[in-house]
């Protein structure tokens, strides 16, 4: 994975010193809150319901064991012993004191981490496929591109005060595991017939109040042009994006209102002008960054491990966990493990300091010192030998992280909601907890099969509800929490925005409503192999509406 050189180290260290100075000026009263707020936001510091919140970047979701251990240390020393992994592959600490934050950033810098641009109207942490560098279906590792983008976008002088936040995601395989088409810019690394690497470029995707699927603006962009093209997009957006209404300020609205063709003309014209300039990427520089992500030194192993097969026969719980949480690795004899931070009744994405320590140890011992954070709020051990799976499982079991529910209905995404978030209109975590308990039975979950349930506590959609197969949005109706249900959303390569199914449900009703939806699916699916989303696409919303709103109400 990427390692800082002197330049990066000096950069991050001086940034910490700069923020320390700003905090001191704030505390001494030299800076008012008005002046300080944009500065703290650019360093990931929010003020939430109960306290400050610090959002730390995990660039493209990749981290090593000492970084994970440091996150645990920060939770223990400065916070309340836990952290919250988010859908943006970041981690949030919910209780830091302002006066401690410079020290926290210094601790982070010591393990090559930072909180730069995790908030504010700038280019945010670049996300990527969490299985990058491990997935069997990968064309090329997207992380070198994400890292180059991370660097270029860091304190880019022109793009720190954009109309609105700007999110970029990169994937390197035809299967989209990063909701790439729901980002301001989505990039898919591809290979052409000549074997050269390039990118397919999408623009104008996003969730929030007006969910939109990104539009393809370039089917093929040579990799050397990546920065020039992104710079052209950002420049056009910065000049023409709306600033009169913050709900219409994202690039998706500019694309929508201007039309892709017209906007593309401007972008391409600017790109033509700058493409042979300083931003053109020399092959050797791309190669130098890519070298950081070179495959680990995998052993030559058979595709099947007898010990593993035997352990599965001996231990049914383990076998189930392997079935759900372990997927194929590009390298024979290895596997990718999803550690689902979704125990029954737990807050999705939360991990305690002790759990972070365990994850760090497991990464170090069994996964070439690498871990990943997924946008589904889970942690991934990307390179585990088949023969080590049982040991990993046992350790996870002991630490309360062996939930065998990856991709199932209880592998819920939920934003912090009204329990923490100052913008929330309703709670999301307690709804996730209730559903997780309701569907806790593993037989029943496995029978239901692949089902993505996603919950947001307000229209900002941090919990990705628009792209949930079942999406739940909490709103406030005259002081009461009300939950709206959308069906049929999908964040993968067959991107779709869920449709609102009808009137919302109270907090007491929402559990039954989800159960009704699931029962309807079970009753109507063609076979056990037809997943929820397929059934929904085949039948449309009507049977679900009929079940949720019996005739007397719709009349």
């Amino acid at each position: 994975m990427y390692r800082y050189d002197e330049f990066d180290r000096e950069f991050v260290t001086s940034r910490v010193a700069q923020f320390r100075d700003q905090v001191e000026r704030r505390v001494s009263g030299e800076l008012t809150e008005d002046n300080f707020k944009p500065l703290r936001l650019q360093n990931g510091v929010y003020l939430q319901l109960h306290a400050y919140m610090l959002r730390v970047a995990v660039p493209y979701g990749t981290l090593n064991s000492s970084q994970m251990r440091m996150l645990g240390h920060i939770a223990r020393k400065y916070d309340r012993d836990y952290g919250h992994f988010t859908t943006r592959q970041n981690i949030q600490f919910n209780w830091p004191k302002l006066a401690d934050i410079p020290d926290i950033l210094e601790d982070l810098a010591s393990v090559e981490m930072h909180a730069i641009q995790t908030s504010g109207n700038c280019i945010r942490n670049v996300t990527a496929d969490h299985l990058a560098g491990a997935a069997a279906d990968e064309v090329a590792d997207p992380r070198p591109y994400a890292e180059i983008l991370r660097q270029w976008s860091t304190i880019h002088p022109e793009f720190l005060f954009l109309p609105r936040k700007f999110k970029i995601a990169v994937i390197g395989s035809p299967n989209d595991r990063a909701a790439m088409q729901f980002h301001d810019i989505g990039l898919e690394v591809r290979k052409n017939d000549a074997g050269e690497l390039g990118l397919r470029v999408f623009v104008g995707g996003g969730l929030g109040r007006t969910p939109m699927i990104g539009k393809m603006i370039r089917d093929w962009l040579p990799e050397e042009d990546m920065l020039s093209y992104c710079e052209a997009i950002l420049r056009v957006y910065n000049l023409y994006g709306r600033r009169d209404n913050k709900y219409k300020a994202r690039i998706k609205i500019l694309v929508h209102e201007t039309g892709l063709d017209d906007l593309k003309k401007d972008i391409e014209a600017e790109f033509e002008r700058i493409k042979d300039g300083v931003l053109k990427l020399p092959d050797e520089d791309v190669a130098a960054i890519a070298a950081y992500f070179a495959p680990s030194e995998f052993a030559d192993l058979p595709a099947k491990d007898d010990g593993l097969e035997q352990a599965k026969l001996d231990n049914r719980s383990f076998a189930r966990w392997v079935d759900r949480n372990v997927v194929e690795h590009a390298q024979s004899g290895y596997a990718i493990v999803t550690v689902a931070l979704k125990g029954t009744g737990e807050a999705p994405g939360d991990a305690t300091s002790a759990q972070m320590d365990v994850l760090a140890d497991l990464g170090e011992k069994y996964s070439f010192d690498e871990l990943r954070v997924s946008h589904e709020q889970n942690v991934i051990l990307p390179h585990v030998q088949l023969s080590d799976l049982k040991a990993v499982y046992d350790a996870l079991l002991e630490a309360g992280m062996a939930s065998a529910n990856a991709g199932l209905i209880t592998d819920i995404i939920a934003c912090p909601g009204l329990d923490y978030c100052a913008l929330a209109t309703a709670r999301s975590i307690p709804v996730a907890q209730e559903l997780s308990q309701r569907f806790a039975d593993l037989d029943c979950q496995n029978d239901i099969g692949d089902l993505k349930l996603k919950i947001s506590g307000c229209i900002n959609a941090c919990g990705h509800h628009h792209v949930g197969h079942i999406g739940i949005l909490g709103v406030d109706r005259r002081g009461e929490e009300l939950y709206q249900v959308t069906l049929g959303g999908s964040g993968d390569e067959q991107a779709a925005v869920g449709e609102i199914i009808g009137r919302g449900f109270s907090k007491d009703e929402i559990g039954d409503a989800v159960e009704t939806i699931v029962d309807t699916y079970l009753a109507r699916r063609l076979s056990d192999d037809e997943a929820f989303l397929e059934t929904y696409r085949r039948l449309g919303p009507q049977p679900f509406k009929d079940a949720l709103y019996p005739a007397k109400e719709t009349a």
Binding site: R15, Q18, E30, S153, E158, F161, N238, V278, P282
Partner: protein
């Protein structure tokens, strides 16, 4: 009170701003609004004495003056608020796309924490109201860092010695 800084040093301002319907003085250096420029374009461009500057509000685009930049000596770009970053891209376009070599002046809400970004985007002059910013600039206390992850306007920056990264820069 506005203090003008040019290339980092406090400077006298020889320019007069004209925006309403008043007549343009024949021999003075004037900064006119875009509306005035468009209304009296021919007369302004053919004056014999006095230099010409144009002031663009945040909603005005560079395209409106692009064809005449050869006869314009100064462009003032407004920052209506700290959060409105359009002028960064405009300065960049003036320097890069149009090769404009005259003064690019930042006006409006000019704050110390953005000064470095302004310089790197192509501004060489700052008209500052905000007193703490004036004070910091007097002390030459720049709030920025010295290392950059992207090329900006070529100026006091060199390619970073850090190998293998064509995009990195270091302040000289």
């Amino acid at each position: 009170m506005t203090t003008l800084f040019i290339d980092g040093a406090v400077a006298e301002d020889p320019w007069v701003s004209i925006d309403g319907e008043q007549p343009v003085p024949e021999a003075e250096d004037v900064i006119v609004s875009l509306a005035l420029f468009e209304a009296q374009r021919h007369a302004l461009l053919t004056r014999n004495e006095g230099r010409l500057g144009v002031y663009l509000e945040a909603d005005d685009q560079i395209d409106a003056i692009a064809d005449d930049l050869g006869k314009i000596d100064l462009v003032a770009l407004d920052f209506p608020s700290f959060a409105d970053g359009r002028a960064f891209s405009k300065a960049r376009l003036l320097r890069d796309r149009h090769g404009f070599a005259g003064e690019i002046r930042a006006t409006g809400d000019v704050r110390i924490d953005q000064v470095q970004h302004m310089r790197r985007s192509g501004f060489n002059a700052l008209a500052v109201h905000h007193q703490p910013t004036v004070d910091s600039l007097m002390e030459i206390k720049d709030a920025g860092l010295n290392l950059f992850y992207q090329p900006a306007i070529e100026g006091a920056e060199a390619r970073s010695s850090s190998g293998g990264r064509s995009w990195a820069r270091r302040a000289l």
